[in-house]
């Protein structure tokens, strides 16, 4: 039976050949929860009678969503996580180490061929390393911590073939924004997405993570990126689809003519080419999130802002994806460049992405952000407007004070 990547990975974990539509109980290779989901997961785990996770070395807790703690309630939830980690021996990433998905990939906790459960909707990001990453809620995660297993329906797969090469200044973010528009907010609900094609083969690990990350904005269960061209520190066994595997649909996009894309308020699928919103005044620029604050993202922003100053009345807030990214950006001089241009750095983590702290926009303010969601109220204020774009577009807009195509300020 010819299989998709999703069917292959799930067959291995189910211990039998499975195909799309089957409901299976599968063993998991790792689980992760954050300060937004772990406290509830720990509570459910204890209510289930759990004492120690099935495998503490494969159980990861990350304090990233509201870190450092903005108030005593959150501080106590962080405490609960630390105590649980100490008691059970599972691995904890504390305040300032970075965003959960970045840490799982950067530290090799999720590997090609793995089935990895994250109590966070952007877990499909792990498809960048050829793993089946799936987002679940706290109770599902607790159940996996207890049993080392979960149940799921084997998803049908939509194949997306990206032909051609990206023009300079156009990035994986622009590709995925364009695709989210094409498929819509529920266009991939319950589906796996497989990405392939020469534009994918040419992508860096960071670009692949951006691509896989925003499949969450089409409702995808998981995303699997063709491992051709993938470079990791450790040798690995790639998982390819079989020739003749069955796809629900195949979508082809030639990216050679693609221009930078922007999602308008208040939906990530409300996407237009940058020209259509060019000139919209912005007050607040944010470079951050698990979508776009890796080293190449900071390099792109630094390239736009080198030797220049932010427009008057615009603030630029940057939350690096991880402490390691921050250190590398320091070593490369990007941090100095961005600081000199007027940017403000906040600790590695989710920062203002989810509206919990550190940079809530004011009423009527317009935000241009490199994150993945612009739902009303997402950044903590329902009266703010959020536009989503690549780090280069965010930096160019911070420079001019209006939404700007980076090619214009080259």
């Amino acid at each position: 039976m010819a299989q998709t990547i999703a069917e292959k990975i799930l067959s291995r974990r189910a211990g039998k050949a499975v195909r799309a539509g089957d409901i299976v109980i599968v063993s998991v290779d790792g689980v992760m929860a954050t300060d937004a989901t772990a406290p509830m997961a720990i509570q459910a785990f204890r209510e289930m009678g759990g004492r120690r996770p099935w495998d503490p070395t494969r159980t990861f807790l990350v304090i990233d969503h509201a870190a450092p703690a903005p108030n005593e309630t959150v501080a106590n939830l962080h405490r609960l996580m630390r105590e649980f980690a100490r008691e059970t021996g599972c691995r904890l990433y504390d305040v300032g180490e970075g965003i959960c998905h970045q840490l799982m990939v950067e530290n090799g906790h999720v590997r090609p061929g793995d089935l990895f459960l994250g109590a966070d909707s952007h877990s499909p990001t792990y498809g960048a390393v050829n793993a089946f990453g799936v987002g679940v809620g706290s109770t599902d995660l607790a159940a996996a911590m207890l049993t080392g297993k979960t149940w799921l329906r084997v998803p049908r797969t939509v194949r997306i073939v990206l032909h051609g090469g990206l023009r300079p200044g156009v990035t994986a973010k622009d590709v995925i924004l364009r695709l989210v528009k094409e498929l819509g907010a529920d266009g991939a609900n319950y589906r796996a997405i497989e990405f392939t094609g020469e534009a994918v083969h040419a992508m860096s690990l960071a670009g692949r993570m951006t691509l896989a990350n925003m499949t969450a904005e089409m409702g995808a269960k998981t995303a699997l990126v063709d491992p051709t061209g993938l470079r990791l520190d450790e040798p690995f066994e790639p998982v390819y689809p079989d020739p003749g595997a069955e796809y629900e649909a195949t979508l082809t996009l030639d990216v050679s003519a693609l221009r930078p894309q922007v999602a308008r308020p208040h939906a990530p699928d409300n996407v237009v080419p940058v020209d259509e919103v060019q000139g919209t005044p912005v007050h607040y620029a944010f470079i951050g999130s698990c979508t776009n604050t890796r080293l190449e993202d900071l390099a792109a922003a630094a390239a736009v802002l080198r030797g220049r100053r932010l427009a008057a009345g615009v603030r630029l807030v940057i939350a690096p994806a991880s402490k390691r990214v921050f250190e590398e950006a320091l070593a490369q001089g990007y941090v100095a460049t961005l600081l000199a241009a007027g940017a403000t750095f906040i600790p590695a983590g989710c920062g203002p992405c989810v509206g919990s702290h550190l940079g809530v926009p004011g009423d009527g303010e317009v935000v241009i952000s490199s994150a993945n969601r612009n739902f009303r109220g997402r950044m903590g204020n329902p009266r703010a407007e959020i536009y989503l774009a690549s780090p280069a577009v965010v930096a160019a807009s911070a420079l001019t004070g209006v939404i700007t195509d980076p090619a214009e300020v080259g």
């Binding site: 989901t37 909707s121 599902d140 409702g219 809530v360 739902f375 009303r376 109220g377």
Partner: protein
Amino acid sequence: MTHQPIHGPAHVYGDNIDTDRIIPGKYTKTLDTAALAAHVLEDLDPEFSRRVRPGHILVAGRNFGCGSSREQAPVALKAAGVAAVIARSFARIFYRNAINIGLPVVEVEDHRIQPGDEVSIDLAAGLVINHTRGETYRAAAMPRQMMDILAAGGLVNYLSRHGDYV
């Protein structure tokens, strides 16, 4: 455990209601379910948390609960008294989370439920009855695994009883 009969008036909303509108991220960092209920649907309908009573039914359009994996979304609805959610379709994680915490969710592609209609749900038969309009709608089938979890009152009860998936 057998299901309680579900019967109540409907609150009706539209398509693509994301988890940030069900419960904004800024309120989710708590284990206090009453605090969640106080802000449920706040950015969509500031009146909702005052109007909802135990047993009321929430009705929505397509892709209800899209966005974040926060389980606080179904928990907030349940804590506010919502007895069940009917939608034309659900986002995957929300649907699962709702079942896991014992909040019945029913997918009905085609219906004419209006605000205030008296609605009852027969989970076992997979039927939704609109008493106000004298109509019956068929719900999409739920996987057996989910039926079992819902019948147990949620995944915590299911696993404390069985110790593992069965």
